[in-house]
Symmetry: C2
Subunit: 229 residues, 2 copies
Amino acid sequence: MEATGTTNPRTDTRDLLLDTAERLFAEHGIDATSLRTITSEAAANLAAVHYHFGSKDGLIQEVFARRFDPLNEDRLQRLIAREQEHGERPVPVNEIEEAFIAPALKRLRQPESRHFMKLMGRVFGDPGKMHDFIQYRFHDIARRFIEALAKALPELEHNEVLRRFKFMLGVMFIVLMDPMSQENLPDNLASSHCDLVSDETPLSSVVSFLSAGMKSGTDAGLQVGTHKS
Amino acid sequence: MEATGTTNPRTDTRDLLLDTAERLFAEHGIDATSLRTITSEAAANLAAVHYHFGSKDGLIQEVFARRFDPLNEDRLQRLIAREQEHGERPVPVNEIEEAFIAPALKRLRQPESRHFMKLMGRVFGDPGKMHDFIQYRFHDIARRFIEALAKALPELEHNEVLRRFKFMLGVMFIVLMDPMSQENLPDNLASSHCDLVSDETPLSSVVSFLSAGMKSGTDAGLQVGTHKS
DNA sequence: GTTTAAATCAAACGACCGTTTGAATAGTAG
DNA sequence: CTACTATTCAAACGGTCGTTTGATTTAAAC
């Protein structure tokens, strides 16, 4: 190799494997992506995966560990900021929704993290080996947002808040996966009579839909826009 | 060979393979379920799959063909019935939502079809080999419901109707998969401090959430309950 | 009984998988 | 230079997968 002072030979291969695995996992699924495909596309040796990560599971864990916590930390910080703004009063539902959705949507549009967000959608639909990982690292933030929603929607019984929180996860899942988008459709169906939406989903569209759904059947759901006390 | 009274040796093994495959596909995923596991649980020979269905793909296709069309036919008939009731006037959003959700929720609670509905959720999240199948057989019914929604929500631009239709699919996906339910959780997290909802999701809860979301930002979204003209 | 087709069975095939091994190479410090 | 560690490499291992084969069993028809 050239040993050019700018590059670190160790982290070069390592990061390249992470990026390639992340992209292929997102495009074809984790189980459907073999180590031979990854190392081949990354122009690395098959054994490099086990040298740097110990196993395929180790590689998967690293792919997730890189970006999972920052995403949820972003969500949590936004929620905490809104809670501090409103003091003892509940945070409005639409602000809670935005704190949860915006970090995901923002990363879905950043080139360096959009593959991971699609991968998030995949494992959300089929956790598989990531079940414990997701469950363990996502439990706290889910609890925080559920508490905020319960405080903002005191008329709802707890089970209903939990159900609607899950509905929100379903909407987020759809936005991340975006099935039936032109990008994911076979060419014969995509460009013909099927004219499903192709532009990027606006944050306001998701938040507006979710906020209205969350407030359905409550007094807040019958009001509109700004209101005091 | 047929007309053997109580049991038909041909369809016996065949149907047993279909039922077993359907259940294992729903529980562990299609790719993660081997033919050896299926035939073992069905007390059949490994080669029986290829004798009755030609290949694993043939088995998968048959598992879907059995129940996919009846589900969507149910949805379509409900929508058509509502359209005939309202004549030229648009069908109310909540009735459209109920026509789409109720057939899925009903089957999710029938013992003979609940495994298939969970499988539907799986392939919805990761179409894989079923992409073309789903796309081809689901396209018409999606168009019909999108048209009904556009008619009921004339203030929304077409792309926004399409987006909200996709949001609805996400909520349906969550209801079908029901991640984070006690049934799908590891025991250590399920019964401890995590008290996520465990009862069956009521149809009214889904329809109410979706209808409010669909109407968000429109005049209809600011009104409540029964109203005339 | 004999014939004939449907159905089942044990056994094997080739392909791909994750993993391991041990030698070859690069880079750095003494 | 030598010595040593870090990294890469080709090759193979054992296992599981979907699939195929050819013989065997079943059961209705003649």
